[in-house]
């Protein structure tokens, strides 16, 4: 964004005007990106699901393989009646989708798509994304409580318990690459991996940490096999049972946006970011960087979808046991093991 401000100042705009113009451009492009991405991801999820179950999925809307299905759904949702339960807490019900969405939306600003192609280069990037993504839980509890429905309440408290439990292994697993690189800034991870190869191959503990982070991020995004908060067969639709129309669609949008952020963190911290080959890089032409990163992100999103339509849902006690009894101890072993390797100066398959 600093370069954008400089660009607008070069066009002859004054300080505040240049700043506002840069903000407006960033906000517009980010909103456009998230909307188009979410529509595409929803269509992709339906197609992946369909093909895994040997059927076609949406085929009618739009000319080619139902590509316009999500657009049609969005228009339909806009025209739906917006029901607010009269006995619930109206203010909380109203504000909950906004709280849920704004956390994930702000998380996008720290993701570097290429050298300098980042809205703000936060020096606490990883920490910031983790912190802002967990704001979502507050919104979900608000939604569940304000709906005045027992299914919503159960969904919300389950979600709170689950997301909160899986934050511990996720954060600990993210500490492993932070320890190896010695920085929170997301751009530094790309630079490090250009010299030393993908971090997932840097030492064995990082491989395990990548796996732990990916599993915990599935739970954090409420994706199957951890989709207990909205387990259709027992809780109707979980915390958004009482939501309808546009308001419901924001919960949907948030789910896909948080999948993107989780996949982006996995790709940037463990799988080389915009470096194409596992042994490092730095030679790829700069315009190719966002393409490489986004392809990796979509690969991880595809894996998330693939898991959803392959694995059965876990039981609630299995989910909670998995978080604390398996992932947390293993994440700590990874952290100390990686510190040991760093202390001994080992590691770096390609450095």
């Amino acid at each position: 964004m600093t370069s954008l401000i400089a660009f607008f100042e070069g066009l002859g705009l004054e300080g505040v005007l240049a700043l506002s113009a840069a903000y407006a451009l960033c906000i517009a492009s980010l909103l456009g990106f998230i909307t188009v991405y979410a529509m595409f991801a929803i269509w992709m999820e339906r197609k992946v699901a369909a093909h895994i179950q040997v059927r076609y999925g949406p085929m009618e809307t739009g000319a080619w393989h139902g590509w316009a299905q999500s657009v049609a759904d969005a228009v339909k949702l806009l025209f739906k009646e917006d029901l607010i339960p009269p006995e619930g807490n109206k203010f909380l019900f109203w504000i909950a989708p906004a709280v849920v969405f704004c956390g994930v939306f702000a998380g996008f600003i720290a993701i570097p798509f290429a050298e300098g192609m980042q809205i703000v280069d936060l020096h606490l990037g990883v920490f910031f994304i983790m912190a802002i993504a967990s704001v979502e839980v507050i919104g979900v509890i608000m939604a569940g409580w304000a709906s005045n429905s027992k299914y919503s309440l159960f969904g919300a408290v389950r979600e709170a318990a689950q997301v909160v439990s899986y934050e511990i292994p996720a954060a600990t697993a993210l500490l492993v690459p932070i320890l190896v690189v010695g920085s929170f800034r997301l751009g530094d991870f790309n630079a490090f991996q250009a010299d030393h190869g993908w971090l997932v191959l840097y030492n064995p503990f990082l491989t395990v940490a990548a796996l732990i982070y990916f599993i915990s991020s599935l739970a954090g995004c409420k994706r199957a096999p951890f989709d207990l908060p909205e387990a259709e067969s027992e809780l109707v639709s979980g915390f958004h049972t009482e939501y309808s129309g546009m308001r419901f669609s924001f919960f949907f949008l948030e789910e896909y946006a948080s999948m993107f952020v989780a996949a982006a963190l996995t790709a940037t911290l463990f799988f080389g970011g915009w470096n194409l080959f596992p042994w490092g890089g730095g030679w790829e032409p700069a315009p190719l960087a966002p393409v490489i990163l986004i392809s990796k992100i979509f690969f991880f999103i595809f894996v998330q979808m693939w898991l959803r339509w392959t694995l059965p849902r876990l039981r609630v006690d299995q989910v909670m046991a998995m978080g604390y009894k398996y992932l947390v101890p293993w994440a700590f072993v990874c952290l100390i093991g990686a510190a040991w390797f760093e202390y001994m100066g080992w590691g770096g398959l390609f450095s």
Partner: protein, 131 residues
């Protein structure tokens, strides 16, 4: 550097506005016809018994407490991981991390033995004392 965190605030506010704008816009098109049956919370077509804003399971409270302990511990270990790479005395830093992780690990073992990590709490240990 301050600009960075102004941007965070701006984007948080934009996130909220972005959610509210389509809702306000949609109010121009969408029908608004609430009646009593629509307002009843969904309970598989039965009339709901009692309110939904009830007290809920104690286990969520235990989970939240464990989370707070571990989250505080993560916050404490974040700076350690950040400076480890550049620390002049790597051995000392490693020892400090090891001691800290050991203490946390024993805390986890204690929770585990108490049965607080199990969703379905077993009273096996208690029975053994009584029997």
């Amino acid at each position: 550097m301050t600009l960075d965190y102004h941007a965070v605030l701006v984007f948080l506010i934009t996130g909220i506005v972005m959610v509210c704008a389509p809702l306000v816009m949609g109010a121009l098109f969408r029908p608004n016809n609430p009646y009593r049956e629509k307002g009843i919370p969904y309970e598989c077509a039965e009339d709901p018994i009692g309110g939904a804003q009830v007290r809920f399971d104690m286990r969520f409270y235990t989970t939240a407490l464990i989370f707070i302990v571990f989250d505080a511990e993560i916050v404490l270990i974040f700076p350690w991981a950040h400076v480890f790479k550049t620390h002049p005395e790597k051995g000392l830093a490693f020892a400090a991390g090891l001691v800290f992780a050991t203490i946390v690990f024993f805390g986890l073992l204690y929770d585990w033995a108490k049965g607080d990590l199990s969703w379905v709490k077993t009273f096996r240990n208690k029975r053994r004392v009584q029997g």
